[in-house]
């Protein structure tokens, strides 16, 4: 057992940290927030050139064949700077789902272009009523002459306007109680995309409605009606990835606070010498480090394909969600009046923390799930 990073992993972290510091300072983040899609094509290209789109995907499909541990490292560094963009949607939500669900031919069709930076994807899963299980899927796909016509509405679809491919979870006539995944070209007739206004402007969310959108059989990812277990695993991986981003954000807020506490003076002394603030900073570090441990353990479980991935994913998501929201909230408080201004960055982290905490299952959801997994209830 060696629960520390290898020199190669440290190198990836160093490269990612350097890249985001250079390419994604706050000015860039704020610029993208003001734009319509919170996405920078230029940054996307550069990330693709570094090989990050294919980081975790097998070499036979154009990836680098690395593991969830390396992906979590890159995601953590992205979370540190609140990097906007479709990386999470394309690689974590779309790519990892294709990787587990799609046939080899489909992987060549969609995963390889993702690895090459030629295709962006997203996942249309959630609907109007929040429900984490397959029973929440009400979008229908009617079997029509050798293909399907998809109808219904999806909410909280990230980056839908930028994604070339929308992976939509629906139920077909022939497999009514079970879920099928469809690969839908965004430009098809009947796909209507409406932006939602979000508190966290570093991410774009959309309502996507499907009005008899016609797709052929080759667009069924994996088998008809067989998607749910695969979606479950993909959501676990996504929860780990999102938790890694939260860890990165929590680290940034803590760094920001420590810097401020060391320089700001009141009552004739540095405010970092006040014990009430020292103790809260210590708790912030405890939560950050503990969230790291949870995320790294879950990333290892994912890369080992270990049976306790669901447990570790829920631990990571539940803990990181509450840790990040608390830390970012303390971040505002520790900065006093400055922390409540639009000009200061700490509110960007607070908003991202709240958004992330509610996405892919909040802490309460994951604790409920854990209770089941460990034999309660």
């Amino acid at each position: 057992m060696d629960f520390g990073f290898t020199p190669e992993q440290e190198m990836i972290r160093g490269q990612a940290a350097e890249f985001f510091r250079r390419e994604c300072p706050t000015a860039v983040v704020r610029g993208l927030m003001e734009g319509e899609r919170a996405h920078s094509e230029q940054m996307w290209r550069k990330m693709a050139e570094l090989g990050w789109m294919g980081l975790v995907f097998p070499e036979e499909f154009g990836g680098a064949g690395l593991s969830m541990v390396e992906l979590s490292i890159v995601l953590e560094e992205m979370g540190r700077v609140l990097a906007p963009g479709t990386y999470f949607s394309t690689v974590v939500l779309g790519g990892l789902l294709l990787q587990s669900a799609a046939s080899a031919e489909q992987k060549r069709r969609w995963l390889t272009p993702i690895c090459e930076g030629e295709l962006k994807a997203t996942l249309a899963l959630y609907e109007e009523h929040e429900c984490p299980g397959p029973e929440g899927i009400r979008v229908r796909a009617e079997n029509i002459d050798g293909g399907f016509a998809i109808s219904g509405k999806k909410f909280f679809v990230p980056d839908a306007e930028v994604a070339d491919l929308i992976i939509c979870a629906a139920k077909t006539n022939s497999a009514e109680d079970r879920v099928t995944l469809f690969a839908v070209d965004r430009k098809l007739d009947g796909v209507n995309i409406t932006p939602l206004r979000t508190m966290d402007q570093t991410r774009s969310l959309y309502e996507v409605s499907f009005e008899s959108v016609r797709v052929d059989e080759s667009c069924v990812i994996g088998s008809e009606g067989g998607a749910w277990p695969v979606i479950g695993r993909a959501l676990d991986l996504a929860a780990v990835g999102l938790s890694a981003q939260m860890v990165g954000g929590a680290r940034s807020v803590l760094e920001m606070c420590v810097e401020f506490l060391k320089t700001r003076e009141q009552f004739g002394r540095k405010i970092g010498s006040f014990q009430s603030l020292q103790h809260r900073s210590a708790d912030m570090l405890l939560l950050t480090e503990s969230a790291k441990s949870a995320v790294y353990a879950a990333s290892c479980a994912a890369s080992d394909d270990a049976p306790d991935l669901p447990v570790l994913a829920s631990i990571a998501k539940a803990y990181s969600s509450e840790a990040y929201v608390w830390i970012a909230g303390e971040g505002i408080q520790l900065h006093g009046g400055m922390g409540f201004t639009w000009e200061h960055d700490v509110h960007l982290y607070y908003k991202r923390a709240c958004a992330d905490a509610s996405t892919l299952g909040d802490a309460t959801h994951h604790r409920r799930r854990l209770a089941g997994l460990i034999g309660l209830g």
Binding site: M1, D2, F3, V69, S293, A294, Y296, I315, L370
Partner: protein
Amino acid sequence: MDLKYTPEEERFRNEVREWLQANLPAERPEVSESENMDEWMAFLRNWQRKLSDAGWAGIAWPKEYGGRGAGVNEQLIFTEEMARAKAPNLMNVSIGIELVGPALMHHGAEAQRRRYLPKILSAEEVWCQGFSEPGAGSDLASLQTRAVIDGDRFIVTGQKVWTSWAEYSDHCILLVRTDASAPRHKGISCLLVDMRSPGITVRPTRQITGETEFSEVFFDGVAVPRENLVGEINGGWGVAMTVLMHERGTSAIGYQIRLRSELDELMELAKRIEKNGRPASADPLIQQKLAQSFIEVEILKYNIYRSATQIARNGSPGPESSIIKLFWSEMDRRQKEVAMELMGLRSQLVRGSKGAVDHGRWQRAFLWSRAGTIYAGSSEIQRNIIAERVLGLPRG
């Protein structure tokens, strides 16, 4: 980064497991509160002798001092297997093995190491720790117990408090003031004191659990040979820091395993206890709290694993070990509060009462959980250390 154990580590685990299966005494004395402590101590000494003869005491200690010379991971595995088998812990492990050991290995003279270390492992000699005083708790450097040089010996006068196992100890690792005129941290020395020396009086202190695990120790002109000085004269603060850092480090894996098995038992209890006409385990709020405790106990494990890897790579635990101490002691309290909530009205009933749940064990654990956030550096002291030494905030 790899959470899997290597084949060698798995082999080591099997070896430990098999040995424990074959050698763990099937019968052990019932121990509860302060009753039959002598019998329990005798049992522990025999058990440790057995472990030590088989080479299981001091896994990570060097061979020349009776240890096994293995690594941190083997130490973790051994502790895990001991806890899993519900084997009684090594006697005095928290003081002799984890405090005196590192103190002598880092600061002691070679003769002291050879004289004392092997007998710690074999349980021939039991140790206690004389640090805190009535006027020196969190502010340890204000300690007043004096040692005056008199020829080839020190004469020690003063009082120590909260000294665990003092009644059963052969030696004490003692902090004393040897230079009253020097700045506080620079006038302290560390001595090894024979607890049978004339002039030592031990007076047990009754704790909130009713037990008398710790004592006050009075020193009245106690003579200590000069060769029992650890490190330099007036260099005792450095020894104390080494000791305290180890007190907060990976040894916490033992607590982690205890907390996990207590959680498993609490989940079973939740299924047995009925609330509002259904098992408490079916109550969504109870589920949330037990799941949160599960989250915390598992994260504690991974925090310790990360720290163990740091030790394996860099040789010693850093001030980050304060995070682990803070984490487990605070979560222990939260977990036992859930236990009390589960029992509801019955949480009032203690051992020996009609209707007491599980013979009152949870009330005892609940009360004990209040000690963890105080001893070995209170939660407040840990936060000071984290803020100043890890985050680098200006001193208050």
